[in-house]
Symmetry: C2
Subunit: 340 residues, 2 copies
């Protein structure tokens, strides 16, 4: 009886050994009520056979697949940090996280959404980056909870975990102003993204409150989040008349690009030019003696994402959308000094 040679045991084998029906075993596996005696004998049988449930088979009958789609723009330090926390949160609860990077390519994004659809994910977690718009139609016929993080897309009835970009940027730029800077430039990100817009907005507000005028790079490379945008932008900045004594970089890639450009221009940080990066990274303490940065916790953001996702999955009743806004902090290192 049962335990056919070399085959993985099924609930049938377990039921056989435990002397109950498959229905009871299934109910056991799903944590439902059953007679104590049966519960024990099933547990023993599972242990003895070292049985583990075939989730594929379960999923084809169940509405819930146990999959969580996680769409990230790239595997960089921040998004990877969020991924890690999400995996850590979901795994013990029996969910499987499917990470997918679209690499800023619209076609990949569409593929990701189709992939999630095919896998029947229970929820999608996504950074609402540019290009997302274009593929939104796919989402319509997927019909699962969507949690947006980092970048916002307005007008969608979804949960959001965002960063207080405007406020934190304003705070950071004000810090530079308090240090005595009056010529402060900004390296913006891709202005299609809400984060880029809000960080710019915070910068603007800080400047306005001190009656300073904006300096932004006329970036030959166009706006964007990558190192070379920061590099080209910074080079551009110092071609003009009004040379900045401080640079506010909208993310750490841009800051890195600025560091490279300043080095070429033989301008020292922080003696000649001060710099702040929006977004911290593990290596920032080691770049030019330490880059001062606006720091936010991927872990905390990930945790809130999971809270939202889990509650949406377990309780489908349409509550109005919720938003959590994370407050970053300024980590002061050695890249900001008083201007000469």
């Amino acid at each position: 009886m049962s335990n056919r040679k070399n085959k993985a045991p099924t609930i049938l084998d377990v039921a056989d050994l435990a002397g109950v029906s498959v229905g009871s075993v299934s109910r056991y596996l799903n944590g439902e009520q059953l007679r104590k005696k049966n519960r024990e004998s099933i547990a023993a049988a599972i242990e003895k056979l070292s049985y583990s449930r075939n989730t594929s088979a379960a999923n084809i009958r169940r509405k819930s697949s146990g999959f969580i789609g996680f769409l990230l723009p790239s595997f960089d330090e921040f998004h990877t940090g969020v991924l890690e926390e999400i995996v850590n949160q979901f795994t013990p609860k029996g969910y499987v996280v499917l990470p997918f990077s679209h690499g800023d390519q619209g076609s990949f994004l569409k593929g990701a959404l189709e992939y999630f659809k095919a896998q029947k994910v229970d929820a999608i977690i996504a950074s609402g980056d540019l290009g997302f718009f274009k593929s939104m139609d796919i989402l319509q016929d997927i019909d699962v909870p969507l949690i947006l993080y980092s970048n916002d897309i307005q007008g969608m009835n979804v949960d959001r975990v965002l960063i207080d970009d405007r406020k934190a940027s304003k705070h950071a730029v004000k810090y530079m102003i308090e240090m005595g800077h009056t010529n402060i430039a900004i390296l913006t990100g891709d202005l299609n993204d809400s984060t880029a817009i809000d960080r710019k907005r915070g910068y603007d507000e800080a400047l306005a409150s001190a009656e300073l005028t904006e300096i932004s790079a006329h970036n030959a490379a166009g706006n964007g989040w990558h190192t070379h945008h920061g590099y080209i932008g910074t080079l551009d900045l110092y071609k003009g008349e009004n040379k900045p004594t401080a640079i506010f970089a909208s993310n750490y890639f841009l800051a890195l690009g600025a560091v490279q450009a300043l080095e070429e221009l033989n301008l020292k940080i922080p003696n000649d030019v001060s710099i702040i990066s929006f977004g911290d990274a593990s290596f920032l303490p080691f770049v030019t003696g330490g880059i001062t940065a606006v720091s936010f916790s991927a872990k905390e953001i990930g945790r809130h994402i999971c809270d939202f996702a889990l509650s949406r999955i377990t309780d489908q009743s349409a509550k109005s959308s919720r938003t959590y806004i994370h407050q970053p902090s300024l980590v002061v290192r050695n890249s900001v000094s008083r201007p000469k």
Copy 2:
């Protein structure tokens, strides 16, 4: 007929609309040969219904879970790069990659393996880090192909994708010697790991060939791969009599720690001290004007891992184990100069 209201379409609906049998649709999905006319009508039906295959259902018949377990020590840039490539390779083939980070904690590692077992993964890809040994017994009763990468564990009959640590280290240290250095120190990694041992070995060989003597840090923090090991180790190095003019760091975290320590000691890179990092990272060009690094391609490593994994999965016949050894290259930046 068919297309039951509100339900996701199945091959049955597709077959119906295309005027063929479900068998043909299934075969179409699996890329088998079929009459051109049928192929086209099926494609049209799929398009029209925006059908996508239910992989869970497919996998249950195939007797495979479609899961690939990926065990990484941490979500750092290198391992994440490998993960990305693996996801990119496996996803279009219908597999789902389950990433799991053990964070150098033995208990997590055991949990990971149990997790993989419960999910019935078709293969496990793992960096053979310390601690792996202790949990090996679990592997015995999982019985799926294992592909080791980065760190090797000897005596196992598995496929391996490794880096030529010894050769590349030797090459890097020789480069320092050619630049005129005679006092070259090493910051080793955790000497339980094959990579740490082999990088040390390469260093030793380079030194021996020039009849130089070794300088290694008596690290109060113990050996390890993390920034603080590099930091403490470097501080230690400059307490002694025989102060090195060059440092070979066994990974980039150690290099970062060294940079920090040297800064505190007010020693300039590369004027006072030269440094090479084994392992490149996106930010290394921006640390102290550019850190020279031994560079290996996560993408290429990932690709070979997938080749091995896929062939093991599809062809279970026990071939002898294969090994691919990746040859890194030295990326010269500005952290090595001739000693004064």
